[in-house]
Amino acid sequence: MTSKEYNLAVDEFSDNIFRFALKHLKNEMSAKDIVQETFTKVWVKHEEVAYEKVKSYLFTTAYHAIVDWVKKEGRNGDFEKVEHTASTEFSISFDLQKILNEALDRLPEIQKTVVLLRDYEGYNYAEIAEITNLNESQVKVYIFRARQTLKEYIKRTELVV
């Protein structure tokens, strides 16, 4: 892609990458670092990447950057570790999206990634598999497990409210 197309990609996808990173890292400065690192890496390869593929290339790069960041910073240690700590605090007012975001934080990072790519960006299973370097069956399994966890969390919240 040309430099002009690259700049168009900045306008079109930088917010998406930022939200994706922020959901994982829960830190604005770290999320911005991920955005800058992602676009820098894409710029280096921009002549080899077609504009039609730039979105998936951006998310793939961002995903790997997040994984590296998590490992480097020692946050959550294992990217697939299940968050066992159950929160006993539930919001009094039932804000569904807020509850879902709380539930999302309790998912293992890999399940969080696939759910975000599915719901935020509308990727299908094959595209998610390509971004996360999983196979399609694994993606389906992770999404199904994530949905079950989210559903149970909402259910418990409803009961409390």
């Binding site: 430099s3 700049n7 930022f18 569904l96 999302l104 559903k151 909402i154 259910k155």
Partner: protein, 334 residues
Amino acid sequence: MEHISIFNYEAFYLDFLEGNLNEEETALFLAFMEAHPELKLDDESLVSVEVETSNLDTQFKNSLKQVSFADTPITLSNVEQFLIAETEGQLSNSKIGELETFVAANPSLLQSQKLYAATHLKADTSIVYSDKAGLKRKKAIVLWPYVSLALAASLTAILFYVYYSGNQLLVNGPTNVIVQTDSTEVAPKDKSNNEEMNLDQLNHNQQPTTNDFVAQSNPTSDQNVQTPTKQDRPTQIDRLNIKGLKTIKSKKTDLEIIERNPADLAVQSVNNQSTNDVAYMGFQDMKNPIKPITNRLGDAVKQEVDFRTAKTTSERSGGFYFKIGKLEVSHRKH
């Protein structure tokens, strides 16, 4: 049957303890062990390992199974999978209908169906990346090749002009008309020649008294002519081949203007260079020491660029010749 030896008896020993030997093999093994009592283990119970059987939860086992949503019938054990598949958009219309029927028959599943439908996240579009400008790249226009070539050409011309500034310069006009800015300083024409001059007579004229020179792209008949001196005469001029020479008498001065139509000039094949120039015709014996540079400069500026030099020898005089487009600068040392 494989022969039992001290090299493979352990495998037979293990099979014996696990009860995997048939009668013939057992007899052979026992006979071998009688012949080699030193190989018998002190505690044969250490060899065998009992595998603990684990019991998995049936529900967990079912969750591991791959459900073919198109073919598998909906049951209470797999309805959760179908509810998730429905919210993921993985079910066909017929299967959705089947699921609706099943849920209607089992009202307790309604809440689960609603909860699964609510598990879809929505992006908070108020969260934006503020420094987009910092991510963008500006397109850089590469000028340095052209600038460097232009500078090199200018520097070359300036250096040679400065070096030879003490000597007389001969300037050729773009249409091969030799001109000079200051007409008052131009030497008068030869008194003995009131008729039209040919090229030979031009060579006998006096030298100009000024170092000023000018090259014009479109000389007119009113311009004065600076004629070359005998000393500056090109050494290899074939007068007979110079066609198109004509003389025009100036209305303002007594000087005569020699104008040649470049189209009528014969082309002299000298290293494939243009031979329409009076000045050039005396410099084809010189060589271009920077041919790659002049070629590159010519490609960059899209004009003919030539530079030639030669040292003074016993046979010929030295000097230089520089041409860029219609501008020519040359000098002969004597």
